[in-house]
Symmetry: none
Subunit: 243 residues, 2 copies
């Protein structure tokens, strides 16, 4: 069965666009240009583009050209897949095992970040295909966590459970040797390197509403950071010296 030509072209363009070949806001090649590259008449190219316009993937202005539509929802999709999406696409089933679940008074680093208040502390082991790959402790102000049950945090990621908008986060990544207790939980030998990550998640107004510490066995995990513009530095951007 032969496919209709303009739909073929639409498919080709769609994949190239969703692959990020044309960044948002940039202009596609003109109809006549595409006409020569696809060896099709301008009318056919137009039909293909109009299919994509119906999908609100692209748009056009007379005298200007075709450009990929700026869809804010599509943006995060263009970035790196989160680890859960990656797992899902790999057919790996993520599991969570709650180790600790307690309301208590913030102290030390937690009090410094969230304030000297009552907090919920959840310690959780994340597994991929039965293998542990992350040990996470999350602290959340008690007044924002009153509706949460132990079953809730076992079933869903924490960020989905917050019923206030989360606007941003700052993340610190370092490396250390694994501690004895963590080694047992993660199933790695003593002396293994681990990635340590602290994340402060903010709500509107820049107020910190979540503090989380993550421990990843280094042999199974790595971070990938996309930098839209290379910083003029000898060091990868974001690195800093600690005393």
């Amino acid at each position: 069965m032969r496919r209709i030509r303009y739909q073929e072209i639409a498919d080709a363009l769609r994949t190239r666009i969703t692959a990020g070949e044309f960044a948002a806001g940039r202009v596609l090649p003109s109809e006549s240009e595409l006409s020569t590259t696809f060896d099709a008449s301008r009318v056919t190219i137009r039909k293909a583009l109009e299919v994509l316009r119906d999908e609100s993937l692209v748009d056009a202005r007379q005298g200007f050209g075709w450009y990929v539509a700026t869809d804010p929802i599509r943006q995060p999709l263009g970035r790196l897949a989160t680890i859960e999406e990656q797992m899902a696409s790999d057919g790996i089933k993520p599991e969570r095992q709650i180790l600790e679940f307690a309301f208590e008074r913030a102290k030390g680093r937690v009090a410094k970040v969230l304030g000297n208040i009552q907090v919920l502390r959840v310690k959780r082991l994340n597994l991929a295909d039965g293998e542990p790959f992350a040990l996470v402790t999350v602290w959340c102000p008690a007044n924002l966590a009153e509706h949460l049950s132990r079953a809730d945090v076992e079933r869903s990621p924490f960020y989905e459970l917050m019923n206030i908008p989360l606007t941003g986060a700052t993340q610190t990544i370092g490396a250390t040797l694994v501690e004895a207790e963590d080694a047992a939980l993660l199933g790695v030998p003593m002396g293994s390197p681990v990635l340590r990550c602290e994340r402060i998640t903010e709500s509107e107004g820049g107020k910190a509403v979540l503090l989380s510490q993550h421990v990843f066995p280094a042999h199974r995990t790595e971070f990938v950071v996309d930098l839209p513009h290379a910083a003029p530095s000898m060091a990868p951007s974001g690195l800093r010296l600690v005393e």
Copy 2:
């Protein structure tokens, strides 16, 4: 993929301005001067400058000229300070020590990223106040590195020496135990954890033009990543599993 000309020029000017090429309060080249250097009409140059004025990056006075706006608040938007700026503000003097400098044929991982071509390989030790904090190896296609001398790469960061525009980079961060040779160079005991980072820097069109591998002693360094919008995931965004 076509781009609107004046936006291209605005981008070029923006990077040059944010890179500090024109100190705050100083005057930019005149419109007609820019017109000849960019080989564009004055109208187009004006449009580009007006884009930057909307970003309150520059401003103009009739009969005087264009000057970069003195807006210190804008700085954090220019993303995190590089490690060199941080050092400068701390009064620490960065030094570089060239360990290896050789033209050779790409092989293995290097060939996979840059292609099977002739490359320049530079291995460099970075020091802060005389203390080593990073071991960096950079591979660069030979045809882009012909003008570089050993003294050049000792004096300046690599990214400043490239005379083609660098548009972005992808960075992978992991942790391992230090290798014997690296331990000696970095002055850390065997069995210490280190942060390992691989960075692929791209030029226009997404073509990889630099491959660099970095080793940082974990006790002195950590990464800080600002996430404009928190990803809905239990894991810090960018983490991925390795086999």
